[in-house]
Amino acid sequence: MEWKNNFDLAKPGDFKTLDLLAVAGAREINDREIVFAGTGLPMLAVSLAQQTIAPNASIIYEAGSMDGRPAHLPASVGDARCEHKASVSSGLMDVFSQLQRGAVDLAFLGGAEIDKYGNVNTTAVGDYMNPAEGARLAGSGGNPDINSMARRTVFIMVQEKRRFKEQVDYITSPGWRVKDWPSGKWVTRQEAYGTAYRGGPVAVITNMAVFRFDEETGLMYLDTVHPGATVDDVKASVGFDIDVSRCRGETKLPTYHELYLLYNIIDPEGIFVA
């Protein structure tokens, strides 16, 4: 089958969940935006957007490269491939300072647990001060920093009831209702950030659905369901009461052209799409 110039929506069975996640991620990106992205799916999403709807989007990798156009897909943000044809290559202090200064429109991040307000945990499961009983995750990395200072954040996560929790065990990355330290009082994100407020999580893309957040209440709601899953499946895979009344139906499928780009142009070595 000729996929290169086929812009029809792919039939279920012709693509994998990971492909759909990359495509759904790419569709969050607008042309000319500055995107801060981590390893894996975010790289695929931004690369795909640059090949389709957002040719002038720029990507920042936190290890220090700006608007690289890799000839071969990087396997991590520290990769030598990141700075191929980059505008500038420097280091963390530079790119994180640009982030804090307000240069970044959109960020893609991951998480192990998320709550109804979009607070994300990537630090530890269980009681943080009693590590004997819990399990440590990879740690914050740049997740809270990037999510703090970008205008919009999209989280890409695995959909499981134990990961979508009423309250996460440790707030690594801030959602729409957060604790204001040093008091520890629960406040809105806007209150917590004050003049430093810029935005926050706008979408959560999982292997089952796309979620968004209500602007007034800060609560997560179901936006679209991926083909093969139902609204009831989603409800059964969320550990809190999720608003499904605003569901718009099915997530838009990848086109054959997008699949062609993912498998032949962006990741021909099969590092992520295998």
Binding site: G40, H84, G141, M149, Y170, S173
Partner: protein, 328 residues
């Protein structure tokens, strides 16, 4: 100040003469890129103890030191091996067993801490990670353990501090304390005979890490004539007078990668990660690859030409075009 004429050392000499039990250390690199593995292995061989790591992020090097029982305190924000191991299995086990103290900051906090150290100021302000449990005073681990009593001059008396903006009326800032390590161990591509450091590719947080520490050990793929490295000073990162020791060790960052010289050895790291899931597994691995090798060159011979050659960077692209990275 170090002797301008004679900074050259071997890996074992640099560890023996410049790193003491209980030292606070930091490193060059980023997760699985440009980590000073030759020095890390030698620290394990020499059995250094009670080290205090302060680093922007950690990776394979940190897992080696922690697995070998060299580390007492780890302050950072990330431990893992990227695609080749999602967490730090040694860190998790030692933390569960109460054998290591972990203090969490965010990535920006750690960069700022080292930047403050590098700038000679006691703290720097940021807005990053407001509203998170990183700031939760109940989760100030060093404080809860009574280690912020001022008796260790390298441990700040507070984890964070808050301050109103005195100038523009903006939101109060988070102040993060300077990090002032005893030693930074860096692995770079080139160093001049007098110590001028050239870093190629993304520089990660090398500038801050190298300048924050009291002493700087630079391991390079190549020592080059000082007058050659000075032909393009704009490309250099660290002046010679900040460098205390220079060591030439080709392939010295393996299995982590080195821009322009070689690739990350993903298969080696994946195997290491699988072995670290038990202490016995790590010990067996360390016996084979560290203690069983008299020095780093013996380790390289054990890896063999074919393996290293597949990782060798293409001179034009700065990375290997031959290493198999994915499923196709």
């Amino acid at each position: 100040m170090a002797d301008v004429k004679n900074k050259k050392m071997t890996v074992p000499e640099a560890v023996r003469e410049l790193i003491k039990d209980g030292d606070m250390l930091t490193f060059s690199g980023f997760t699985i890129w440009r980590r000073p593995m030759s020095m890390v292995y030698e620290i394990v061989r020499q059995g250094k103890k009670n080290l205090h790591l302060v680093e922007v992020n950690s990776g394979t090097h940190g897992e080696v030191l922690i697995g070998a029982g060299c580390v007492k305190i780890w302050e950072s924000c990330f431990m893992g091996h990227e695609l080749f191991g999602k967490i730090g299995a040694n860190l998790n086990r030692k933390l569960k067993n109460g054998e290591i103290i972990v203090e969490d900051y965010s990535h920006v906090h750690m960069v700022m801490r080292l930047a403050a150290g590098a700038m000679g100021v006691p703290f720097l302000p940021t807005y990053c990670a407001l509203g998170t449990d990183i700031l939760n005073p109940e989760y100030d681990v060093l404080g809860k353990k009574g280690l912020r009593d001022g008796s260790n001059p390298r441990i700040p008396t507070e984890k964070f501090n808050y301050q109103d903006d005195p100038f523009y009326g903006q939101r109060a800032v988070i102040n993060v304390p300077a990090a002032r390590p005893n030693v930074c161990i860096a692995h770079v591509q080139q160093v001049g005979e007098e110590g001028t450091v050239k870093v190629m590719g993304q520089r990660y947080s090398d500038n801050e890490a190298m300048k924050a520490a009291d002493k700087l050990i630079v391991v390079a793929e190549e020592i080059v004539p000082e007058e050659v490295i000075r032909q393009d000073p704009t490309a250099n990162l660290i002046p010679h007078y900040l460098v205390d020791a220079i060591v030439e060790q080709p392939w010295g960052a393996h299995p982590t990668g080195c821009f322009g010289y070689y690739e990350v050895d993903g298969a080696f790291i994946r195997d290491f990660y699988s072995k670290t899931k038990t202490q016995e597994g790590f010990d067996t691995w360390a016996e084979e690859w560290i203690l069983g090798c008299g020095d780093y060159n013996e380790y390289l011979y054990k890896l063999g030409f074919n393996r290293l050659d597949s990782l060798r960077a293409n001179a034009a692209m700065k990375y290997s075009l031959r290493v198999k990275r994915g499923a196709r």
